[in-house]
Structures are given as C-alpha cells and as structure tokens.
C-alpha cells in the first residue's frame, strides 16, 4: 500500500516540477496521474471520435428562473463537432473546419444575427480546440489559463478578439483527465450558461 502512496507522491512532485520548469506545459510529463495542459490535450488528441450527452442551464439576468435544455454532442477528430439539442426545441449545430452551421427544422431562422454567430463560434472554437487537443488552435483565439489538482483540471479561456470580448467575458472549462465535464460561458451582459457534459465511455 505504502508503495502506491509513494508513487503517487512522487508523481505529484514530478508534476509540480514539470509545471515549474515549463509553465506552458511543454514538459515531458511521465505520470498518468499528473495532468498538465499538454498532457490533457495530448490524451485528448488520441481520441478519434467521442460522444456525450449534455444539459445546459442558462441564467438570464432578467429571467427569474434558470432555463434548461438538453441534447447530445458528437466529436470527430480533428475538427468536426455536432451539438444536437433535443429539448426544449430540436435544433442542431454543426461546426466543421471553422465554419458553424445552424440547421433547424425551419431553415429561414438559420442565422439570427451576427452576434449569435460570434458567441457560438467562440464557444465552439474553445470546445473543439480542447476536444481535438490542439493547443496552438486554442492559443490563437484565447489567452489560456490552466490549473489542475489531482487531474481535476480547470481552464479559463479569455477571447483575444476585441469584438468577441464585447460579447463573451470568459469561457471556463473543467474536467478530469482527458474528459471535459463542464463548460461555463459568461457573457459580457451578465448572462451565463453552464453546460454539464457526460461523456459516453
């Protein structure tokens, strides 16, 4: 038993050293229990296809009760993400290669406004960047702040674009190991959305 504890301690130590030496996460992490950004993303990059269900809780500043929706996520490496909402209204979003398409039953409502494109595009870019394990992609669009504790990690994405920043204050992602468990989007107007994701193993 004590041997296992020793190994864990050692790995936490290694992990800390690695973070100190290379704070951006380019270190050669060796332990399975240490989860720097590069490790999380590297394990993510190995996954070719994944599926998950999600629930979304939206808190709008002038609506008294939170609003809920639920649906499914499907990711195909390197950059295809589908988000299919089942409740309360069926709609689907397909993000591929930097292009986001909304497909609803009534196509005329396909593009609501420039704003919604900005918010959703930023959200999808963050999600796809993480899911595909593409750190460069993430850092091109966001300032990335990453922390982890026993492989329970948290990542804050701050939009670099001024126009996006006018709409989104930050995107917070959290998870364990290579899995994303929660995505929280804080809009500039104070509205927030919390996506709870449970990946199908």
């Amino acid at each position: 038993m004590s041997g296992a504890v020793e190994i864990m301690r050692a790995s936490i130590f290694l992990c800390t050293v690695a973070l100190l030496v290379a704070p951006t996460g380019s270190a050669q992490a060796t332990s399975t229990n240490a989860c720097p950004l590069s490790q999380v993303l590297a394990s993510r990059a190995k996954i070719q296809e994944s599926a998950a269900t999600f629930t979304q809780e939206r808190r709008i500043r002038y609506v008294r009760d939170p609003l809920f929706s639920a649906g499914r996520l499907r990711f195909v490496a390197p950059n295809h993400l589908e988000m299919i909402v089942d409740k309360p209204q069926a709609e689907s979003f397909v993000y591929e290669d930097g292009v986001l398409t909304l497909e609803t039953a009534e196509q005329a409502e396909r593009q609501i406004s420039v704003d919604s494109d900005l918010i959703l595009s930023a959200m999808f870019t963050g999600l796809v960047g993480t899911l595909s394990g593409n750190e460069d992609e993430l850092r091109r669009t966001f300032f990335v702040d990453f922390s982890d504790d026993h492989c329970q990690w948290q990542m804050t994405l701050l939009p670099k674009s001024k126009r996006v920043l006018e709409k989104i204050r930050e995107i917070d992602l959290s998870g364990s190991k290579e899995h994303i468990e929660k995505a929280e989007i804080l809009q500039a107007n104070g509205d927030r959305s919390i996506l709870s994701i449970s990946e199908q193993q």
Partner: protein, 773 residues
C-alpha cells in the same frame, strides 16, 4: 513611268490612311440596343428596352464554385463575397452569409415597426404578447437563443426576425456551412449584380474579369473552380465569339480577295488602286454619320464595312475597262454613264431611309449613301490620276461569246423571278422573323448552368416582370403594394415561385401611417404587457426598451426613399427595385421567380389596370420592337426601290429601264424566296443584306444593258462583273461557315443574292450587246 504611278498611289493611300486614322480615332461607337430603338418609342417599349439594357435581372451574374471539398468552397464563397462587396463594380454581392452587416442591421432594427412586411393586427394584444414572450423564453434557453438575450427586452414579438426574413427573400436556397449551396452540395452559389449595364460590353468585361481575378487570388491550392453565368455573362460570351469569328472571317476574306485580285490583275499597284476608293467610301460614310448623329452605331459601322463589296466594284469596273492606247480619263468618260448611274441610283435608294424615325436605320442610310458616292467619286477623281502612267494590255478572248448564251435564259430568269415572288406570296406566314433571340447561338453549357443556379437560388426571371411607373415614389410604392396582394395569391396557388417588390422593404407612406395608427399607445402597451407576463418568469420592467421603441415608431415621420437609399446594402437592394428616372418620374420593378403560368400574369396586369402598372414580357416586347423596326426598314426599302425605278425610267431608255428593273426584282425576290424556302425567315439583318445585293445587282444590270458596246467592251464588262461577283461572294460565302446564325444569314443572303444578281443581269440585260468593233 510605273514609278510615277506607284508614288502617286502611295501619296494618295498615305493621305487616306492618315485621314481614316483621324476619323476612326474620333468617332464614338455605340454598341447597344439603341440601334433598334425608335426615336420616339411607345412608353412600354421604351421601358422594355431600358429593362433589357439595365434592368436588375439583366445585370445579375450567377456564380458557382465547385471542384473542392465543401468546407473549402464555402470558405472561398465567403471570401469572394467579402472582397467583391468592397468593389464599386458591383451593386450587390450575396453568398448567403450575412448579407446585411451590423450597420445595416442597426438601421433596420431602429425602424423595424415601419419598415418591412405587414404587422399582424393583434401582434400587440395581451394574449399574443404572452405567446411570443413564452416562445422567446423557450428559445432563450436553447443554443440558438444566445443572442436573443440582448434582443428580447426591446423586441419580444420577434419583429426584427420577421424583417430579416423578408430581406432573405421568400425563396429558400439550400445552405451548407452557412452559405448557399446546390442541393447536391457540390457547388457554392452566389449572386453578383454588376454596376455596369447588362449590354455594356466594356463594363461587363471588366466586372467579370474582376470576379475571376479575385477568385484566382484566393483559390490557392484548393483546386476549386469558378463558373459564371447569367444574362451579362452569356451575352458577353456570345458577342465575343461572334466578334472572334467575324475577325477570322475578315482576315480570311482579305487574304483570299487579295490573292484573287493579285492573280487577276498581276499588279500590286492595281490592288492599291482598288483599295483606295473602298477605304474612302468607308471613311466618308462613318464620318458623315458621326457628324450628323454625334455617334456611330456598331451595327451601322459593320454594315458600312460590308458595303466595301459595293464600293470596291467601282475601281474594278474602271480598271477592267482600261484599253491600250487610251488614257484612264478617256476610258472613265466611256463608262461614266453606267458608273455614275449605278452609284447614283444605289445612293438614291438609301436616301429615303435617312429620314427614318429609327436612328439606327437612318444611320444605315447615311453610311450607305455617303459611302457609295464617296467610293465612286474617289474612283472618278483619283484613279485616273494614279493610273495615268500605268501600262495596260488588252486581249480579246472568247469569254464575251458566253453572254449571248446567257441571254437565251431571259424568259427563264423572268419566270424564276415570278416564281420567287409567288413563293413569297404563298409562304407569307414564314416570311419574317423578329425574334432576334433565335439568332443568338447561346452557349448551351452556360444556359444549362443559368437554369440550374437560377432554379437553386430562386433568382428572378429575366424575361418577365412587372413595372410600375408614376410621378412620385409614393405612387409607385402604392402600386407595388396593390400588385403584391395578387402576387401573394399567385405564389400560393403555385403559378409563380415567389416575387420581390420594393414595398416589401419600404412600405408606402400611407401604409406606414396606418401602421403607426395601429401601434398601441404607451398605456395600452403597459397594460397588455402586465397581463402577458403574469405567469411568466419575467417582469414588465424588463420590456422598457420595447415600450420606448414602440412610442418612438408611433411618433416618427414616415420613412421616404431618400432616407434609405444612401444606407449601404439596404439602399443597394432597394435601389435595384425602386429608382428615380432622369425625367423625375419614379419606377418600381416587381421581380418574379419560378414563373409556372405566365398567362396568369397578364391577367393580373389587366385586373390591376391603370396605365401605371405594366406587365413586361421582354421577349415579346423585344419582338415588337424588332417588328416595328423591320416594318419601317421594309417601308424604306420599298420606297428606295420606287426611287430606283423612277430614276431608271427617267435616265435610261424604256428598254434598259425595264430590263434593269426586271433583273433587280427577279434577283431580289428569288434570293428572298430561296432563304425562306431554306427555313430562314427574314430578319432586319437579311433585309440590310438584300439592300447590298440590290446595290451591286444594279451596277451589273446597268453596265450590261448598254447599247453602244463592242466585243472588247463586252468582254471587259463580263470580266469586271465576274471579278466583282467573285470577290463579294467569297468573303460572304466564308460567313456561311460561321457558327453564329446572324453572320450565317448575312453571308448566305449576299452570297446567293450576288450570284443570282449577276446571272439575272446577264440573262435579262445582256442580250442586246452584240455590237462588234
């Protein structure tokens, strides 16, 4: 001696070339429909021609991008749209993605209650407010509702979405990756309206090249491929291919005719001597038209060029009649009478046409009359001087003995002429064709592509539209609203796919005032909202921006075109459907897509009535325009022939006058009959060609009908006629090989006509010339 001749010829030619250079550098060439347009057209044909030239549908380029993965072509489509929309060469560029930018959206949003489609009567009633707020809250929780968060407090009834929906159009193109795609998802589609008119060849060339250049700038290694179609692209392709062919045919003709003349005359000097009057005629004709009309139409100029076939005959006649031991001046004196008579009558035949109410016809008359007289005068004044020291040889051969053989066919020739007339009389129905579009060899590939993209995008029909004209913008917008009601019904019953009208974007002042009256007062609205939100998780206070905007819309002065037209994107769209004409009147276009039952459209025009709403079927209208042009041309042709007969009977003996007239009528009617029998009904272009034939046939007949000729004369005349006929039939015969029916028609008419003219002239007029020296 010969050196004298050469230096004189060179001097004369240099002067001509220099003068010609100056003239052609300074004439203003027009290349549009105005050639067929009468000076004072009916209102409707004027509007139709305006539409063909510059209407919104005729300026629409349909663009497709294919040949690469769909994500690549979607990206290219967005990029291309973005670049092109910055260029002043295009008034509208749509790829399906964000056609309205943020600025345009803000303008529309600000005036959302006055602009755009109708507001339903109970949109602001408490129960309706409750329904729309509840549904908006549902969407707010979903993904597509992210932007709704900011919008809902000001627009709980979803008015801005209704407005944007109207701007997106009622047709529903297929989308992929956020841009328009063909339904099989292989091709991204775009609509590009050029600023240049559809028939502005230079402007269209530039605009289309700009699209191509921008595309090659962004295509990279994706391997994607750009295709373009639509009326401006098709018409440019057609006119370019016709011009290309005409150029090759021209080069070929020059080479062959030069070779023939060299072989016949074995003298470069004589070649120059023939070219000189021909050039003078063309220059004089073009100059006269420019001075009289201020510009020269391309068609008139082309026709002036073909007139070379007539004017080059004069020097050929003179040269052919030169004799050893006599001066050119003496020989000119001998043939002066038929030469001058031939040219004079030909010019006289074109004179009546110069006062036609169609400037195109009048130009044609001037260019022909002046050209013929110029060529003849240059022959008479300059050639004797040039050829004064040129040695001539004369040989009496056997060919003159052929003439009496021909003369035996006198009865046969007259009978053939009568048969031709009879055929024309019997087959009257298929005599004329005024549908010039049938003459256009449209590239099938582009037509198919146009049909495909137009169908996919629901882009407007090019042929059919409604047009409303009036004294004020308000008047035409009211008309647009009236007809929209009927068109809505037609769309519902499936007679048309959809329609686009300016009142959809900018309602009339009357409608705006009615809407303002229907908007609730502040108290009503507050009361309604308080009931509506009673069991919803929001408060009335949330909707203060909504209350404020409704109050502002109610108090606002109605919006008029000058306020909206300068707004980028919004104004461009409106301007393509609503515009102020140069004379201060206004005109609105109602564009139609997917017309399934054209008959219902003319019914509607009748029902709506009034003189301000016109249903235009551009094909039918253009046929009307051409038909009235053709009728006019025919009238002047007959008038011209009357003048010809009159002069003939005054200037010549009765026998000669009768023979020349018979020969002329026989060859013309036979030519026309052969064309019609070949299934080629006569268009204005055929009629113009027949005039050319008449001019040449007249010369032949006048020369051959002379009394005072000897064997040598006869032989010289025969030789000169054969040369004239062959050098005309060959270039025009080359045109028969063209792929363009228009060139083929002209070529066939002249080739058949000139052959027949020389035969009828020989047969009918050649009999009496038996005098032997």
């Amino acid at each position: 001696m010969i050196r004298h001749a050469w230096s004189r010829a060179t001097v004369a030619m240099l002067i001509t070339v220099a003068f010609g250079g100056i003239v052609f550098a300074n004439i203003d060439v027009q290349n549009d429909w105005s050639f067929f347009q009468p000076r004072a057209p009916s209102r409707i044909s004027e509007l139709a021609i305006e539409q063909v030239r510059s209407g919104p549908a005729s300026r629409l380029v349909l663009v497709g991008i294919d040949g690469a993965p769909s994500t690549d072509i979607a990206r290219l489509s967005r990029l291309l749209a973005e670049t092109l929309s910055k260029s002043s060469s295009f008034s509208r560029v749509s790829s399906g993605a964000n056609e309205l930018d943020e600025g345009a959206l803000q303008i529309l949003f600000k005036d959302r209650y006055l602009l755009g489609p109708d507001i339903s009567r109970d949109e602001f009633a408490p129960e309706e407010l409750r329904r729309s707020i509840a549904s908006a809250l549902g969407r707010l929780g979903s993904l597509s509702g992210y932007a709704l968060g900011d919008l809902l407090p000001a627009d709980p009834t979803g008015r801005s979405q209704a407005l944007i929906k109207a701007w997106q159009g009622s047709s529903q193109p297929h989308y992929k990756h956020g841009v328009w795609f063909s339904r099989d998802e292989t091709m991204a589609l775009m609509l590009v309206a050029t600023a240049a008119h559809g028939d502005d060849q230079l402007g269209q060339t530039r605009a289309q090249q700009e699209i191509e250049a921008n595309f090659s700038g962004i295509v990279g290694a994706s391997g994607a491929n750009l295709v373009m179609t639509g009326p401006p692209v098709i018409s440019l392709a057609v006119s370019q291919s016709i011009q290309n062919e005409a150029w090759w045919i021209g080069i070929g003709s020059i080479v062959i005719v030069t070779a023939l003349l060299v072989v016949t005359f074995r003298s470069g000097l004589l070649l120059l001597a023939i070219a000189l009057p021909t050039a003078v005629g063309a220059i004089a004709g073009a100059l006269a038209v420019q001075l009289l009309f201020g510009s020269v139409h391309g068609i008139a100029l082309t026709f002036g060029g073909t007139l070379a076939g007539v004017t080059s005959d004069y020097p050929v006649h003179l040269i052919s009649h030169l004799r050893r031991g006599s001066t050119p001046k003496n020989e000119l004196r001998r043939i002066w009478s038929p030469l001058a008579l031939g040219a004079g009558i030909t010019a006289a035949a074109f004179l009546p046409m110069t006062i036609s109410s169609f400037p195109g016809l009048a130009q044609l008359g001037v260019i022909a009359a002046v050209g013929v007289v110029g060529g003849m005068l240059a022959t008479a004044l300059v050639l004797p001087w040039i050829l004064e020291f040129h040695p001539t040889g004369d040989v009496i051969g056997w060919s003159h003995s052929l003439v009496p053989l021909f003369a035996r066919g006198k009865v046969a020739a007259v009978a053939a002429g009568v048969a031709g007339l009879a055929w024309l009389a019997i087959d009257q129905a298929s005599l004329f064709s005024d549908d010039l579009s049938r003459l256009n060899p449209l590239p099938q590939r582009l037509v198919e592509l146009d049909k495909r993209i137009r169908g996919e995008l629901g882009a407007p029909d090019v042929r059919r539209l409604f047009l409303i004209d009036g004294k004020s913008a308000e008047e035409v917008l009211l008309g647009s609203e009236r007809i929209s009601i009927d068109l809505q019904n037609l769309a519902q019953e499936g007679s048309i796919g959809s329609y686009d009208a300016p009142s959809r974007y900018l309602p009339s002042i009357a409608v705006q005032r009615a809407r303002q009256a229907r908007l609730p007062s502040e108290e009503e609205l507050r009361f309604g909202l308080s009931i509506a939100v009673r069991d919803l998780p929001v408060d009335t206070a949330t909707f203060e921006p909504f209350i404020r905007d409704i109050a502002a819309a109610k108090a606002r002065t109605p919006i008029e075109p000058p306020e909206l037209l300068p707004v980028p994107l919004v104004g461009d769209r409106l301007a393509s459907l609503l515009s102020r004409r140069a004379d201060g009147t206004w005109v609105a276009f109602i564009l139609l897509s997917g017309v399934a039952r054209p008959d219902r459209l003319s019914e509607i025009a009748h029902q709506v009535g009034g003189d301000s709403t016109h249903y235009l079927d551009l094909q039918t209208e253009s046929i009307h325009v051409i038909a009235s042009y053709r009728t006019d041309a025919l009238r002047w042709l007959v008038g011209g022939l009357a003048v010809v007969f009159l002069v003939l009977f005054v200037a010549l003996s009765v026998r000669r006058a009768v023979q020349v007239s018979l020969s002329l009528v026989a060859s013309l009617s036979l030519t026309a009959a052969i064309l019609v029998a070949m299934g080629m009904p006569l268009t204005p272009f055929h009629l113009m060609s027949l005039l050319l034939v008449a001019g040449m046939g007249l010369d032949f007949a006048v020369f051959l009908s002379r009394d005072d000729v000897d064997t040598m004369d006869l032989q010289q005349t025969l030789r000169s006629i054969v040369i004239c006929a062959v050098t005309t039939v060959i270039p025009f015969g080359l045109m028969v090989a063209s792929s363009a029916p228009i060139l083929r028609g002209i070529g066939l008419t002249v080739a058949i006509g000139v052959t027949l003219s020389s035969l009828t002239a020989l047969a009918i007029c050649g009999g009496r010339t038996r005098a032997v020296s």
